[in-house]
Symmetry: C2
Subunit: 354 residues, 2 copies
DNA sequence: CTGAAAGCGCTAACAA
DNA sequence: TTGTTAGCGCTTTCAG
């Protein structure tokens, strides 16, 4: 068991002091290039790996890492989980001497420009954002990045910006999975409908496209008969679904694209079409459980916001703290929630295991 | 921003030295019960949380935490991933001053009793095991636990033992998910078959039961026409499937319970039954990809060995290092692998992102 | 450009 | 029973 190699060992072998080793290792100024190369070579040969606990401890004193977090509280459930994931990972990072500045928004996009500006002004090194209005946020992100602030988008994206990374479930993939699953559940030549939020929202539109493409591929002769925009409004949504069901007695499936699935499930049950119209939803929260139990909801494509939050924080901390390269995008695999595995999801458990 | 509370602050307020605070916090002997209570109360009030980086650093000197890992190398793919998960988490724990003793077995169960005995003898505080022969391992586990060694089983279990925890995918659930999915894909009154390893293996038997139960529930009038034991033998498996297909021209689906799905897929293609017989498999490795692409494999229930490995190590380290209570069982949610999300699985990527 | 030394917050050994 | 002190491995300041 080879003895642990630390700065001291490297220093001894390079015949310099640990101070010099530190300068070499971190590319700090004030060191002779030749000494630096020699030290680096020796560190390499010895397989030197810094002890992160020690690093955290020693850094704590000085101006430390600060990360700003600007993520909405609403819509409920989804962002609750996102925050939980963020907090859990933050807790792990605390001992590494990372400070966090939380700037929750009341609802997606509300006042985000101001908060982001303020965060940038408060000398953070990293920023975690959920862009609500990509257009207005993009220039701010670019400004931050130019100033050396690493920006990680989570859950929603500002694709045209210079953000360092994005953590999300690709909307196209989410739709695609729903389409494949729907196709598997239905005979050839089936007609299905999609309930979305607003097609103007890129996220929603891409889910729809993914669904249509994949449904067409796996259900021969199948077609998407209609795409309904619910605008996240319960009344409107319910009404439109009623009309839909009345007009298409042959309708075999509905894919709900947004969190707004309860009205659809209710209408299906009220009209006696539950089960006969396969319902595939998005996301997951406790109120959905009874509909799963009654087979009104057949499956859900769950975007795992908790995991998204954790990953975003972990990735940024690792990068800022140990120079781990930031992958430009981390696309999560959504979970497929069926009746059988429903009970395993943390978000449905009574006692949140914080 | 309240100043960080550390042992010093607690000591100052309790009018004792940090040594006494340490004794109180850790229930060490040699402290007046009254002082201890006072210190604990004050620590509580101040919301004292130890700095784990500092703890790790200071502990490093003394007799440190040692965890033994005894997990097989074979069968391939599955245990490769399990090891990767273990290693990744081990790397994170290194800085916390935890030592690991790796005792890979050539194949599940081979010589495990000897290795486990040796590990116990080598004064480890924790043990991560994949019991191959639960009967022989159970007394060893009990002996270890009695000696204060925390044992965590991963992937396979020794349910009758006193092990502190188990990390796995419940076989019953795995089968159930397959059954539900299969039922969704097929019309009522379908006949399906199951290909398993050995029904004598509890793990395999329970997957079969889960599948049968769930298939019956979701496919009205459906039935499991046959359960084949492949004994992990390619030739035997292939032959039995050929016979099966010949005898049951109406067969609508096959659920393969073990990692041994390639022979089944090959036979289905050779006999022109691919796609018409829905094939649902278990686990995931690169050789399966072409069969997904050709729709020969419809879905796979993936047990996420990487995650199992990570979780087992993380759980044990957290417990040993910070007294986090060990949950008696951590049941993972298996992933559903479909054509659409296939590409997102790390195990299929060309360059393992370590 | 380089070396020496003072901590970061905690544990453990040793004194009292 | 309690207090004091020397590090853990690293970063950072201050001298040289």
């Amino acid at each position: 068991m080879a003895d642990k190699v630390g700065v001291h060992r490297v220093a001894a072998l390079a015949k310099v002091s640990i101070g010099t080793v530190d300068r070499a290792l971190h590319g700090r100024p004030g060191i002779n290039p030749q000494t630096r190369d020699r030290v680096l070579r020796i560190a390499q040969e010895l397989g030197y790996e810094p002890n992160l606990a020690a690093r955290a401890l020693s850094k704590r004193r000085a101006a430390n890492l600060r990360i700003g977090v600007c993520v909405p509280r609403e819509l409920r459930f989804f962002y609750d989980q996102l925050w939980e994931g963020i907090y859990d990972e933050v807790r792990r990072s605390r001992d590494y001497g990372v400070d966090f500045v939380f700037r929750p928004l009341p609802v997606l996009g509300a006042g985000e420009a101001e908060e982001i500006k303020r965060l940038i002004a408060s000398t953070v090194q990293g920023l975690i954002l959920t862009p609500g209005r990509p257009d207005t946020v993009t220039p701010l992100i670019n400004q931050a990045e130019r100033a050396g602030v690493r920006v990680v988008c989570v859950s929603t994206d500002a694709p045209a910006s210079q953000r360092s990374s994005i953590v999300c479930v690709e909307p196209w993939l989410s739709g695609q999975l729903a389409g494949e699953l729907m196709a598997r559940c239905l005979p050839p030549r089936s007609s299905v409908a999609v309930v979305t939020g607003m097609l103007a929202t890129e996220n929603h539109a891409r889910k729809c496209e993914g669904f249509a493409a994949s449904f067409a591929r796996f259900c021969s002769g199948g077609r998407v008969a209609e795409v309904i925009e619910g605008h996240e409004d319960e009344i409107e949504c319910r009404h439109k679904v009623e009309v839909l069901l009345a007009r298409l007695p042959q309708l075999a499936g509905i894919y709900v694209n947004t969190v707004n699935c309860l009205p659809v499930a209710e209408v299906l049950e009220a009209r006696g079409r539950a089960g006969r119209v396969k319902l595939i939803t998005t996301d997951l929260f406790r109120e959905m459980v009874p509909y799963f139990d009654r087979d009104t909801i057949c499956a859900s494509i769950y975007q795992r916001p908790y995991q998204q939050g954790r990953n975003a924080v972990a990735m940024l901390v690792d990068h800022l703290f140990q120079q781990t390269p930031l992958v430009p995008a981390s696309y999560l695999n959504p979970s497929l929630v069926l009746n059988s595995n429903l009970h395993l999801f943390r978000e449905l458990r009574a006692h949140h295991s914080t």
